[in-house]
């Protein structure tokens, strides 16, 4: 079935149309929310709220435009709301996360660096990025959206998407280099 037809049915209040759209897009919404929050429960809540909003604001949708960018925008707005509430509700937890991110580039363990530690380092770099940069990283590397689509989705210039990706790569490179300096025997991995 064509998505345009389904959106038109949704605009008539058809819940089966919403079910169809939910099955089609729930994965993208959920994994984006999960990658941004790293919290399964929060991602579940965001997924549900996103589709409740889709149902509530269906009348404002343009059936001739793809739905996915709209869903990404709502998801990322909900993630921002969640982050704000979490910061307000759990200031100590937030502070500890921030301190952990600061301490992350230099590992406390000596000896061999496990593969999982490298991945954890990447996660810490992603977590420490400003939200706007993290959104671009998730849409580019997880959702594999073209840069132009990301720019359109986030309503920012293409150049801004590129510069945010560059910044994220640079932050990762710096973190890896700092780790290499503390563990020089592992430098071969990144040269």
């Amino acid at each position: 079935m064509e998505e345009r037809t389904v959106i038109l049915r949704l605009q008539q209040g058809d819940r089966q149309a919403l079910a169809w759209l939910y099955e089609r897009h729930k994965g993208a919404v959920y994994r984006t929310a999960l990658a941004m929050t790293r919290d399964e429960s929060a991602a579940e809540d965001i997924l549900q709220e996103c589709f409740i909003r889709l149902y509530t604001y269906a009348a404002s949708l343009d059936p001739d435009r793809p739905l996915r960018p709209w869903l990404y925008r709502v998801t990322l707005n909900l993630v921002r709301d969640w982050s704000r509430k979490r910061r307000f509700a759990h200031p100590v937890e937030e502070l500890m996360d921030w301190l952990a991110a600061l301490a992350a580039p230099i590992p406390s363990v000596e000896g061999e660096m496990e593969r999982s530690e490298t991945i954890e380092l990447v996660h810490q770099v992603i977590d420490a990025l400003p939200t706007a940069h993290r959104e671009v990283v998730v849409l580019f590397y997880l959702e594999e959206l073209p840069i132009e689509t990301i720019a359109e989705t986030l309503d920012i210039p293409v150049g801004t998407v590129k510069s945010r990706l560059h910044y994220a790569r640079r932050r990762l490179r710096e973190s890896v280099q700092r780790r290499q300096r503390s563990l020089p025997e592992l430098a071969y991995e990144f040269t």
Binding site: E44, L142, R169, T191
Partner: protein, 88 residues
């Protein structure tokens, strides 16, 4: 590291690798859970309270003081206020 550029493909690879597990992530909640949370079919988005208040104040104060009764501007204000009330 001697060069800055060789790290870029490496950074790309690491970002993709770190985010790969999310690609297979599936939500636990199903469609039925969502249906239970949907608002009634008749509930349209409502006009925010502040907007309604502003429309009311505009109708209450601006029209009688500034605009003569029966003028086109007063009619327009009346129509705007009524439309805000109807959709809210």
């Amino acid at each position: 590291m001697n060069s800055r550029e060789p790290m870029i493909p490496e950074a790309d690879r690491l970002f993709r690798q770190a985010l790969r597990p999310y690609r297979e992530a599936e939500p636990r909640g199903d469609w039925q859970t969502l249906v239970a949370m949907l608002p009634p079919a008749s509930s349209a988005p409502t006009v925010p309270l502040l907007l309604r208040l502003l429309a009311f104040l505009e109708w209450l104060f601006i029209q009688p003081v500034i605009l003569p009764q029966g003028s086109p501007q007063a009619d327009l204000l009346n129509r705007q206020f009524l439309s805000v009330r109807m959709i809210s």
